[in-house]
């Protein structure tokens, strides 16, 4: 057997080689100093990586860089400030409200019940509450996958306070329910305490 490449070693460690090929590779490495060193180094690197794995930095949702999200957030904040107030929001007394705006192809619109959205659209969330407190936002998408859009964070009291995190929608189509969890103190979104209240909206994601 000829010496093994690093690609072959990657495939061996990933479990992608068949039994025969894997055995042959390990057998060769046992009798070849160069390949044994390569394999030992790779196994040591894998062990070190597992022991101290760097955090993987992914955007909250697919597809857009931080600059694009920040640009949208700034544009949406202006649009939201200028937007006429929603009667439904102002009529509700005491109960927290989670609202949202949608940016599609550079245009921002207020979101409503079963708003039609598309992959790549961006959501900007707003809250309306009488008291300051804590907010988390969770979503269940069309595939039934639950995501925490917003980890628990403090929010100020007031009408249509912008949550400073834009959400870029991924390619999973169908109906997605977004729930705001409002609590008086910090909490675990997986098990919110009994004194928390909820508000939710549904968006319907359709293909572009």
């Amino acid at each position: 057997m000829i010496c093994v490449s690093e690609l072959a070693i990657d495939r061996l460690l990933a479990g992608e080689l068949g039994d025969l090929e894997a055995d042959a590779t390990r057998h060769h490495a046992a009798h070849c100093a160069r390949c044994r060193d390569l394999l030992d180094d790779a196994e040591a690197a894998a062990a070190a990586f597992d022991a101290a794995r760097p955090a993987l930095r992914l955007p909250r949702r697919a597809g857009y860089g931080a600059a694009a999200v920040a640009a949208f957030a700034a544009a949406a904040a202006v649009a939201i400030m200028m937007w006429p107030r929603d009667d439904a929001a102002t009529r509700t007394k005491g109960r927290p409200i989670l609202g949202f705006f949608v940016s599609h192809a550079g245009e921002v619109r207020r979101g409503g019940a079963h708003e039609l959205v598309m992959p790549g659209d961006q959501l900007e969330l707003v809250t309306t509450t009488v008291d300051s407190g804590w907010l988390a936002v969770v979503s269940v998408d069309g595939a039934g996958v639950r995501s925490v859009y917003v980890e628990p964070r403090p929010i100020a009291a007031g009408r249509e306070q912008v949550v400073p995190l834009a959400i870029v929608l991924d390619g999973t189509l169908g109906s997605e329910t977004v729930t705001g969890v409002f609590c008086p103190t910090a909490f675990d979104p997986a098990a919110p305490p009994a004194d928390c209240t909820f508000d939710r909206f549904t968006i319907d994601k359709v293909p572009r």
């Binding site: 690609l7 072959a8 690197a45 760097p54 955007p59």
Partner: protein, 165 residues
């Protein structure tokens, strides 16, 4: 069952991150640059996950992606084209002529197209077989042979140009 894309990429990272990091370290020679490339590779996968069509193995796909990401970084960044210098120098055991060879390697790599530069790395640095290169770039073994010949010709064209500079 369709996995949540984020979880899918995180699972890939847990399983294959070490290989990406090791390869990036080897090609770039700088741990910080290697970590940046590793993040870039998995972010690219997350952003463009539809591009992985499953025709190659995951390890092969990541190997190719990491190579291109490193070459881009070398081409664009402060660690410009150290790759072939490190590899050819180390493998050849060059001492006195080492500096000269490295300079040549730098210039050749910088002058090649991104695909040819990746091919040069696969063939001359990684010493992959033509079968392995074929799996990396998604073509036949015979076509790799043609590419390798064309690459040799291109490198031979480039070498005399050094004296004209």
């Amino acid at each position: 069952m369709k996995l949540d894309p984020r979880r899918w990429v995180e699972e890939l990272y847990r399983k294959h991150g070490h290989a990406v990091l090791r390869r990036a370290r080897r090609l770039l020679g700088d741990p910080d640059d290697a970590r940046d490339v590793m993040q870039d590779v998995f972010l690219e996968i997350y952003t463009n996950r539809d591009r992985f069509d499953g025709r190659s193995s995951v390890a092969t796909y990541l190997y190719s992606m990491t190579t291109h990401a490193c070459l881009n970084r070398l081409r664009n960044g402060r660690t410009r084209t150290r790759l072939v210098a490190i590899e050819i120098g180390a493998r050849s055991g060059i001492s006195a002529a080492g500096v000269e060879s490295r300079a040549l390697a730098h210039e050749i790599l910088a002058a090649l197209s991104p695909d040819d530069a990746a091919l040069a790395v696969y063939l001359h640095c990684d010493e992959l077989t033509h079968d392995e290169v074929a799996s990396l770039i998604g073509c036949s073994r015979r076509y790799v042979g043609d590419l390798a010949k064309r690459l040799r010709d291109r490198i031979e064209e480039l070498e005399p140009m050094r004296g004209c500079a």
